[in-house]
């Protein structure tokens, strides 16, 4: 019976972090909705049946099964959960290991922070899945991970089960450090040109190819019965690159200019690997045919430009033009804020390039799912897929749409109505804490004013904080 206590404690801890639903309801029924399926048109007055976190039926059935939790979405719109193909939320500390030019040994998955409030903020903007990338400080950066925005769950429950891991590459101004120097007290780092960026990548893959050969030879001889073998020494830097060569890890490459895009495609051909996505790819429209032929996807911004010289030829027609030439294109955020309105950003492809509403919607749902190799699981409202859904009060491609509910695996992780209802109580609690601190500060002051308590203190050393100053919370964002 001694065992029971730890179990109870663990259960309590879990409850304390519990998201809106303490348990996944087995059966959920969304009814009376306008359903934008992405793959098979729009269903008016439609319903979605969710069973054990998966979409079990989509149609116009108006009757919920017995025992189902019913969500009435009359007058509302349902779309697949938004997938952000370029995000840095949920990361504890810096996203850049900028010391070496090749930092493939580090992994963003090791530093996931499930308590980052930006997870919740993005969830409230309809994002259900995000590609969490290392920064762009090096030609070959760290390993990356796809997560679901399961707010309230522990770090190990965030990763998207079965999604192939990735690695960040970066070309152009950032890895050559054009716009900011090395951290104070550290020397300049090679490379400083696009020429050097290519060389760093090629050199790393020459090493990786050799390392792979050592491993392959070892395995071959071992399986041939040779027992007197010393295995090759493990190299954590080269292992992820071998996985790239074997097609077990996706390359997500930060890039801007057309020339550097073609450079990486040449290097990829030389070593026999694939670039899974070009990220930012703001000049992708200039070499869209080459990108399309390579099979790489393009994940871009809606309308960012002119923040640096390699973004001066960026155009808001980029997404539409790449798509027109056969590239699978997504619109991403690269920002916890931008992720809150990716639906609006996708809608810009209707203005710039005149894509259809469904094509625009694909830019933040099915297309990024394809790019991340998870389109068998998410990205559209189809039977068998994960019940990752967003319910909006208006046409989701309208500026007037506000996400009302966001579901992941059939579970409501964001509910605007409940969020609004919870605010007075939270405000009260916050005020109580502030008052308590203020009172404590006053007590301390009174205490200090007794002469015997401060014989060797200067009188101005112990100013009590003004109300509102001491109780300040740590600022969010700004990474």
């Amino acid at each position: 019976m001694k065992r029971a206590l730890p179990i109870v404690l663990v259960a309590l801890a879990l409850l304390a972090h519990a998201p809106l639903e303490a348990q996944t309801p087995n059966v959920v029924f969304i009814q009376n909705a306008t359903i934008l399926t992405v793959t098979h048109g729009t269903i008016e007055h439609g319903s979605i049946l969710i069973r054990d976190g998966k979409i079990a039926a989509v149609g116009t059935d108006s009757k919920p099964p017995d025992g189902a939790t019913v969500i009435d979405a009359a007058g509302q719109f349902v779309i697949p959960g938004i997938i952000d193909c370029h995000s840095h939320i949920a990361v504890d500390g810096s996203v850049n290991e900028g010391g070496p030019a090749v930092s493939s040994m580090v992994n963003i998955a090791d530093v996931l922070n499930p308590a980052d409030v930006n997870i919740y903020r993005d969830l409230a903007g309809g994002v259900t899945t995000a590609n969490i990338l290392h920064g762009s400080a090096n030609p070959i950066g760290g390993q990356t991970v796809v997560i679901k925005l399961r707010w309230g769950k522990q770090a190990d429950q965030l990763p998207f089960e079965g999604a192939l891991p990735g690695i960040k590459f970066a070309l152009g101004e950032n890895p050559k450090r054009s716009n900011f120097g090395p951290p104070a007290g550290t020397p300049a780092r090679y490379p400083a040109t696009r020429l050097g960026v290519e060389e760093v990548i090629r050199k790393a893959f020459i090493e990786a190819r050799e390392y792979k050969k050592q491993g392959d030879d070892y395995n071959q001889r071992k399986s041939a019965g040779d027992h007197n073998l010393i295995p090759p020494r493990r190299d954590l830097r080269l292992e992820p690159l071998v996985e790239v060569l074997e097609g077990k890890r996706y390359v997500h490459s930060h890039c801007y200019r057309a020339d550097e895009i073609l450079m990486l495609l040449r290097v990829a051909r030389e070593f026999g690997f694939k670039v899974r996505t070009f990220q930012h790819v703001l000049e992708g429209y200039k070499v869209a045919d080459e990108i399309a032929v390579s099979g790489a996807g393009g994940s871009t911004f809606s309308d960012w430009w002119a923040y640096k010289i390699e973004a001066y030829d960026a155009i808001p027609y980029n997404a539409a033009l790449m798509q027109e030439r056969g590239v699978v294109v997504s619109i991403n955020s690269d920002s916890a804020e931008e992720a809150r309105h990716l639906n609006q950003e996708a809608a810009k492809t209707m203005k710039y390039g005149e894509l259809s509403a469904n094509e625009a919607l694909k830019m933040i749902t099915l297309n990024p799912a394809i790019q991340l190799g998870i389109d068998n699981r998410v990205g559209s409202i189809d039977v068998g897929k994960d019940a990752d859904l967003v319910i909006y009060n208006h046409d989701p491609l309208s500026v007037y749409a506000v996400a009302q509910k966001t579901l992941i695996d059939g579970q409501v992780y964001f509910d605007r109505e409940r969020e609004l209802a919870s605010r007075p109580a939270l405000e009260k609690e916050k005020q109580a804490l502030l008052d308590k601190e203020k009172k404590a500060a006053e007590e301390e002051k009174k205490h200090d004013e007794k002469p015997e308590k401060k014989p060797d203190k200067k009188p101005d050393q112990k100013k009590p904080p003004k109300p509102g100053e001491s109780g300040r919370m740590v600022r969010g964002g700004g990474r």
């Binding site: 810096s94 850049n96 409030v117 930006n118 919740y120 903020r121 409230a124 054009s178 900011f180 120097g181 951290p183 104070a184 429209y285 200039k286 045919d289 080459e290 309308d303 960012w304 430009w305 002119a306 923040y307 640096k308 010289i309 973004a311 001066y312 030829d313 155009i315 808001p316 027609y317 033009l321 027109e324 916890a336 804020e337 931008e338 809150r340 309105h341 609006q344 809608a347 810009k348 209707m350 203005k351 710039y352 208006h394 491609l397 309208s398 500026v399 007037y400 506000v402 969020e419 939270l426 916050k430 100013k463 509102g468 300040r472 919370m473 740590v474 600022r475 969010g476 964002g477 700004g478």
Partner: protein
């Protein structure tokens, strides 16, 4: 081919009437050549926009209305108006007409490429530069100008200050802001008002700042931050006192009795209440301090950015201080601030009776102005108020309300003809009138799009 003549205007009889046949192609070629960023028709014309739904913002929308533009101004508007002889007629059936959008805090013309300091003229050295005026360095050929106007923004204010208007740099008084039309060959043609406000970056008590050298946040004690703040405010106060003395000396004495001082001279209109101060402040504490200071100094204050204005509504209402809001699409300032506060704040301020306007506080993102307003509507701001907050409200705050902001006879003809609601993302701007001129929507982005759309497939 980049310059695309609006189809409704140039084909047909009007074209031959207004442009002699042989001259027309030449003009088109010339227009194409010069259209990159600063092209506006140079012959002032008479235009009749016909059959549109007209949102004057000075009354209810007008169905099937006609609007006549003459000599740069709106000469008349109404239903079934007679078309003046020689007018270029724009058939706007099914389209909508609105006042041109106004972005009241930008660095348009002072900023080209963010990371290339040689292309920036927004941030001067020194803490106090009241005599610097944005108009001096606005580059009429900036690619940003044509890109921005294509989204329906017909006029802006360029304000000196740090790019992105971060409070930590750009000095305390960064200069005077200029209102100008987003079309024209020179600043002389584009200028609406050389100086509409003095920009003050309110010294914030910052305990935490981002350090680019170490790429991390640096903390500072409250005492240190307060000391720095007090010094800044004292310096500012001192400068205004010296201005008062200077004004007295100038009024009473002969020029021999005082040495001319450009900085003090430029501040005299501010103390006379003729020039408002645009005070950039975000946190509630900073806003309170700024209001207290401006009240004491008797300055005409416009609050700008103001992400925590919601915390000091009563004060702003009481002191009748209008607010130019920074982007509604930003993260909450604090971790425990409601996730939607930046979006709901405009509705909250409006309900409290505080005049508001939207602004991009940016250059490359100036074209997101209408998106910021639309988002505020999604979170509760009435639609017609949001329209006013991107047109007439800021014009009134900056003393331009008699010339711009609504569609009324006598006002400058800055207007847009759109496919629908200008706050909606997918809406297209079909025609653009700036300073009474039909102005091209061609721009660098459209040109690159057309150019690369025609790229032959490689190997074919």
């Amino acid at each position: 081919m980049t310059w695309r003549m609006p189809r409704a205007i140039f084909p047909g009889p009007q074209r031959t009437k207004r442009l002699p046949g042989r001259l027309a192609p030449l003009l088109l070629v010339l227009a194409n050549f010069l259209s990159v960023s600063a092209f506006a028709q140079s012959v002032p014309g008479v235009y009749a926009i016909q059959g549109a739904r007209i949102y004057t913002l000075a009354g209810p929308p007008m169905e099937d209305g006609t609007l006549i533009v003459r000599d740069g101004k709106i000469s008349s508007l109404g239903v079934h108006l007679e078309i003046p002889a020689g007018a270029q007629v724009i058939d706007a059936k099914g389209l909508e007409v609105y006042p041109g959008l106004f972005d009241p805090v930008t660095q348009l013309g002072l900023y080209e490429v963010g990371a290339v300091s040689a292309t920036l003229d927004s941030t001067e050295l020194g803490d106090f530069n009241p005599d610097l005026v944005a108009a001096t360095a606005v580059n009429p050929a900036s690619a940003h100008i044509a890109v921005t106007r294509a989204s329906g923004i017909t006029h802006v204010v360029a304000a000196p200050g740090a790019p992105g208007f971060e409070q930590s740099s750009g000095g305390i008084i960064s200069g005077q802001a200029t209102a100008y039309h987003l079309a024209g060959w020179t600043m002389e043609q584009m200028q609406i008002e050389r100086s509409v406000a003095l920009v003050i970056n309110w010294p914030s008590i910052q305990l935490r700042s981002f350090d680019f050298a170490s790429f991390s946040f640096k903390e500072k004690s409250y005492a240190d931050a307060k000391k720095q703040y007090d010094k800044s405010v004292n310096d500012l106060s001192d400068l205004l006192d010296r201005t008062r003395h200077y004004a007295q000396a100038k009024e009473k004495g002969s020029p021999a009795l005082y040495e001319r001082d450009l900085k003090l001279e430029s501040l005299v209109p501010v103390l006379e209440g003729k020039l408002p101060v645009l005070v950039i402040a975000s946190e509630a504490r900073d806003i309170r301090n700024a209001v207290e200071f401006c009240t004491k100094q008797n300055l005409k204050m416009i609050l700008a950015d103001a992400s925590e204005a919601w915390k000091v509504k009563d004060l702003l209402k009481d002191k009748k201080i209008p607010v130019i809001l920074g982007p509604t699409e930003r993260l909450p300032d604090q971790e425990d601030t409601p996730y939607d506060k930046p979006m709901t704040q405009p509705a909250e301020l409006f309900a409290a009776g505080i005049p508001i306007a939207f602004s991009s506080f940016d250059t490359a993102f100036s074209r997101r102005l209408s998106q910021y307003a639309g988002t505020a509507v999604a979170y509760g701001l009435p639609h017609d108020e949001a329209l006013k907050a991107v047109t007439v409200n800021a014009a009134q705050m900056l003393g331009l309300g008699d010339r711009l902001g609504t569609l009324e006879p006598g006002k400058i003809a800055n207007l847009i003809v759109t496919t629908g609601d200008p706050l909606e993302i997918r809406t297209q701007v079909r025609y653009l009138f700036i300073n009474g001129q039909l102005t091209s929507t061609a721009n660098r982005h459209r040109e690159l799009y057309e150019q690369y759309r025609k790229r032959p497939q490689p190997g074919r």
